[in-house]
Symmetry: C2
Subunit: 196 residues, 2 copies
Amino acid sequence: MVHEEELLDGAARVLAGDHSASMVQIAAGIGTSRATLSRRYATREALLKAVAVRAIDVVDGCLAPLDLAQNADATAFDAALEELVVALLPAAHLYGFTSRDATVLADPAFRAGVDRQDHRALAFLALGQRLGRLRADLPPYWMWYSLWGLLDAAAEGVRDGHLAPRQIGHLVLTSFLSGTRPSAPPPARPQAAAAP
Amino acid sequence: MVHEEELLDGAARVLAGDHSASMVQIAAGIGTSRATLSRRYATREALLKAVAVRAIDVVDGCLAPLDLAQNADATAFDAALEELVVALLPAAHLYGFTSRDATVLADPAFRAGVDRQDHRALAFLALGQRLGRLRADLPPYWMWYSLWGLLDAAAEGVRDGHLAPRQIGHLVLTSFLSGTRPSAPPPARPQAAAAP
DNA sequence: CTCGAATGAGACAATCTTGTATCGTTCGAG
DNA sequence: CTCGAACGATACAAGATTGTCTCATTCGAG
């Protein structure tokens, strides 16, 4: 018997590539039969919601280490943030579609789970603000959403072959923290463009 | 006769809310009949691709002012970047789904359009690097993808009611440029958490 | 006003998807 | 080894979606 987690992750993998994949496509992508899929999950909607719940569980696992940092210092916060980004990278690729699927969005249980998750992340980000490691003039909600946006962007960049999987962890973290503006504003160096 | 642009924008609005909306739902959302929709676009796939082409056109319109800045200075570059973000915000909300829909992604014409678009944006971002206004250690492709990620994140934040439409322009721009790390690292101010 | 093009409403068959049931087979615990 | 649970394959009906068609109506240019 295939474990439920493998099955849901396989379904998520297929659905991440095509949000509107049919049960036949999902079963074929997993490598199982449509009969088994229908036996496990009564309807396609039920499968979708199960994947969404699985997504919440996985992301909750990524967020767990953050709770220990409530009485941490700046160094511990930075380490936890980096750990969070690295842990979230594959999750964003696999489960990102759940936040955009109308079927999933309509599920109150999913919305409630996301709300709990958001509040947990917001507490962590607010801690970063109090520690002086995150800007105090940005809404924590925006920091959380923008982090997910960067994670999604990295996943798309890898999908399109424009980014290497190895570098996206660093890219997301440095963009999230430092942005794309050079840290030390150069006084006035023309630096003419090199000839092609 | 309803103009083609209005029709496509209406379809995009419906599809942005539900990627797998049927022709009946799309027609109802636009306020027209399914017959008219089918007369204009032979198949649903054709409609999807037409929306995608429209998306490319609109984004091309947002990118047009950037070409004039090829021989610009730092100030002009900053202004063009801000203008770009503001122009791109509604487009990201309306047409963001095109970059994630399997049907659209499979269209060679769309991929070619996106490629041309990417190269145009990349040239602009590379100009920013030469002007010293953007970090030279980040791949231009990542800057472009991350900007779209932030635009998407802002749109989702508004959709969920966690962000106000008025502020997202500033949020995207400041996150893209400066990140979420405080600009001036505070020496050692404890700043105890305020009582709840 | 007149006429033609575009529209809305509806019917129709073909196809796809889904949910359910049945059959024989495989696989692992006892 | 034995047996029962889970599996793959297949068939079936019900429903939804799509693409095409017809017909009456509306709307605007001339």
